[in-house]
Symmetry: C2
Subunit: 119 residues, 2 copies
């Protein structure tokens, strides 16, 4: 019996992002929504938090798992997770949306296979 | 100048979990809430989805990032993410809560350092 992978999870580290972008809640909402469309995922719910000290957390739950961003404007850094399951959704299409809008000077991405099970 | 890490992210793969537990929405809510308490994180919001075909998605946003679970009862598998920032919160305390309630026969955990910046 062969094995298959249920999901793919991109762990994205964006460095060298302009601080103003990382403070911008409406941008975060637009990027998360657009990233869902880009990878053809199905929106299920969302939650956003703006921190008094600066920084935003945004998470969208999709039928195929979740996409999230947490920003640290004081460090020009954002942590992005793009976790999708199924063969119909390509997490890299969502990734491109983040890169386009945040233009990090340096980015580190690790793709993790999630759920390696019997096919 | 030295470097510091903003967050720690546990990528947890739980295999061999009883199917009934992975269908149980109230259990997922209890485990997520209890895991927040265990690691002394601050609750900000949550979202749960129950899928018609079986399986649950649950995400809690915490002031220190997020904790999530996605379950595949048909495979006895759940994907858990415990992403915390700051020195006051220990993601491994939250991890223990998941293991206690779901009793996976096999578990794989990877700890990822998130946000390596100048101190």
């Amino acid at each position: 019996m062969g094995m298959k992978t249920l999901g793919r999870h991109l762990v994205v580290e964006m460095y060298g992002v302009q601080s103003a972008l990382l403070h911008d809640l409406s941008l975060a909402k637009r990027v998360l929504r657009e990233s869902i469309e880009a990878c053809k995922a199905t929106f299920m719910g969302e939650h956003y938090t703006v921190f008094a000290g600066g920084g935003i957390s945004g998470i969208v739950v999709i039928a195929e798992s979740h996409i999230s961003i947490h920003t640290w404007p004081e460090h020009g850094y954002a942590a992005v997770d793009i976790f999708t399951c199924g063969d119909q959704v390509d997490p890299w299409s969502a990734y491109e949306v983040f890169i386009k809008h945040y233009s990090p000077s340096r980015v580190n991405v690790t793709e993790i296979k999630r759920g390696i099970v019997e096919a």
